[in-house]
């Protein structure tokens, strides 16, 4: 702190989207909480898959679809838990900045603001997708020998099976982005996490109670369009005879329809978040 030499080697420095992406990448992985979230997702995905594989005792002989369905369940059993981790992480990516004041550094470096939000979405979404996918691939490979011991032989050439695995990773990534959007709107960690988990967990439960009490078909159909139900279709195995829950008139979305509904949720929330980010004082 003695000599003053402020001259440096930054005459060509310039704001670029590639730079903003890199910045968000550094931010995501320089926090312990992020690394822990991903470690937990990987551990739980493999752990629950292996647990299912070892405790599985299918009665009788399964047809091809039945076997594929079980193999898929082993790979995606953890999604229900991983979505909570992904949601918390997604919210924290932005609310952590508001809580600590980091957002002011972010927005002075990227004063047009939206590129910073887009970079956050891309980095979080892609990372969550890749980490979840890798965790599920490991789970598939680890559980395959165990499953074949009980008469379940996963067919890796089955596109419905592969799409469902990709769908599960995509679902976790979209849930993270959805929570990021909610976090950007709420700008508070506790509020952001509560709102995101409320939408993903609590609203469906309330609706289910409503359906249970009133037997209202409309409530059931509304439920099908909530983020968790619609997104859940992304990793459902739909080839062959797979039992569909619900009454005959109930709406059951195809996987691609479910994906579109979830994407619509994400887009609407992101538009709101973007408008607010542009307009509000930081």
């Amino acid at each position: 702190m003695s000599a003053i030499s402020v001259h440096s080697s930054v005459p060509t420095a310039r704001l670029s989207f590639a730079g903003i992406l890199r910045s968000e990448w550094i931010k995501l992985f320089s926090l312990r909480s992020t690394v822990w979230c991903y470690v937990i997702i990987v551990a739980v995905t493999i752990g629950l898959g292996v647990l299912l594989a070892f405790t599985l005792q299918p009665g009788g002989t399964l047809d091809h679809a039945g076997q594929q369905n079980i193999a898929l369940q082993a790979a995606t059993l953890s999604v229900g838990f991983s979505q909570l981790v992904s949601s918390v992480l997604g919210a924290l990516v932005i609310t952590g900045e508001y809580g600590t004041g980091m957002i002011r550094s972010t927005l002075t470096a990227v004063p047009k603001r939206l590129p910073a939000l887009i970079a956050k979405i891309l980095v979080l979404g892609l990372t969550t997708f890749v980490v979840s996918l890798v965790a599920m691939i490991i789970t598939v490979l680890v559980t395959a020998p165990v499953l074949s011991g009980v008469g379940v032989h996963p067919d890796f050439g089955d596109s419905a099976y592969l799409l469902a695995i990709l769908g599960a990773a995509g679902y976790l990534a979209l849930i993270g982005i959805l929570s990021l959007a909610i976090g950007a709107i709420v700008r508070n960690s506790a509020g952001g996490i509560a709102a995101a988990l409320g939408l993903i967990l609590v609203v469906p439960i309330v609706l289910r109670i409503l359906v249970g009490v009133t037997r209202a078909e409309w409530a059931q159909n509304v439920g099908a369009f909530l983020p968790d139900s619609a997104g859940g279709r992304m990793y459902a195995y739909t080839t062959g005879v797979v039992a569909q829950a619900g009454s005959p008139g109930a709406i059951v979305l195809d996987p691609w329809q479910g994906a579109l509904v979830l994407v619509a949720w994400v887009v609407v929330l992101l538009v709101i978040a973007s408008v607010l980010l542009k307009r509000r004082d930081a």
Binding site: V10, L15, G19, I26, A109, V110
Partner: protein, 309 residues
């Protein structure tokens, strides 16, 4: 160069900045002085676009801050509140901020060395003292080697060595032709650092002048006169325009006459003088005089007075 034109910011019913117009020129240190709540921090946030002006505009080197292709090279800013994630190390914080502009490790190491943070660079910011946080904030402001520096209360929390360092740093940066704009509520600090001063009170510019002029605005530039013949000399000096007060037997404080004029009068009357000192008005006095009606949060008694008024 920072140019604010009729800049205003209202938060609901409260007006934080009320139509200020000023220019911060390059090559000198411009001090931004005012009591707490005067609108200094808000003005600085408006300059870098963190807050949107209610009316008016502010530009940096001719453009709105957000319109620059390399904002961090135009303006380095240290805000009063910490602007860093507590869970990240100082090094990673600087690396992440610099990355947006393609500023790499080499420059990050440079600013860490420059601000004396080498020993704590890998530690998480959450454990930093106020002073270390300030140094990290200054390091971040210097990352882009900016043409303009905006520092909100930069010496806040620094040890005496750090205060001297900041003072030398800003003078050095201004000497290189950069625009340096720093706020403080410490008049004494400004007197030693700034070349030009803008005084803000309740969101309005109440003075905008070189340091010397601000000091000269200080009312009642008194002259201390020590003489064994105090009583006679006091009578001699007294006219309706001149006030003479005495706090000691041989000491007079004269208002309304310059020191040379008092010396001449003493010589012509044959009065022996032991001391003749023009008491230069301090910046502190000038500041108090300027802001006495503008302080938003008076201490107890004064607040009541204001209500009566």
């Amino acid at each position: 160069m920072i140019e604010a034109r009729e800049l205003s910011k209202r938060y609901g019913a409260k007006t934080a900045v009320d139509g200020v117009t000023f220019t911060v020129r390059p090559g000198i240190v411009t001090g931004f002085l005012g009591p707490n709540g005067a609108g200094k921090s808000t003005t600085m946030r408006l300059i870098v676009g963190l807050d949107r002006p209610s009316t008016g505009s502010v530009t940096v080197n001719g453009k709105h801050y957000a319109e620059h292709h390399a904002p961090l090279r135009e303006v380095g800013v240290l805000l009063d509140a910490k602007a860093m994630h507590t869970g990240r190390s100082a090094f990673n914080h600087l690396l992440a901020v610099g990355a947006t502009h393609g500023i790499g490790r080499k420059r990050v190491h440079e600013v860490i060395a420059l601000t004396g943070l080498e020993s704590v660079a890998r530690k998480r910011v959450g454990g930093f003292s106020l002073g270390m946080g300030q140094r990290l904030g200054i390091a971040a402001a210097l990352l882009g080697d900016p043409a303009t520096l905006i520092l909100d209360e930069p010496v806040n929390g620094l040890d005496p060595e750090g205060v001297v360092w900041v003072r030398n740093l800003v003078k050095h940066l201004a000497g290189e032709g950069r625009t340096v704009f720093l706020s403080s509520h410490l008049m004494s600090e400004m007197a030693q650092t700034a070349d030009h001063i803008i005084v803000l009170g309740r969101g309005r510019v109440i003075a905008d002048a070189p340091v010397g002029d601000i000091v000269a605005m200080s009312t009642g530039t008194a002259v201390r006169v020590r003489t064994p013949d105090a009583v006679r000399f006091a009578q001699l000096l007294s006219t309706p325009e001149v006030t003479v007060t005495s706090t000691e037997v041989d000491l007079l404080e004269v208002n309304g006459l310059t020191a040379p004029r008092i010396g001449e009068l003493a010589a012509s009357a044959g009065v022996v003088l032991h001391e003749l000192t023009p008491a230069a008005g301090s910046l502190e006095d000038a500041y108090m005089a300027l802001t006495q009606d503008e302080v938003e949060y008076h201490a107890g008694g004064l607040a009541n007075e204001e209500v009566v008024r």
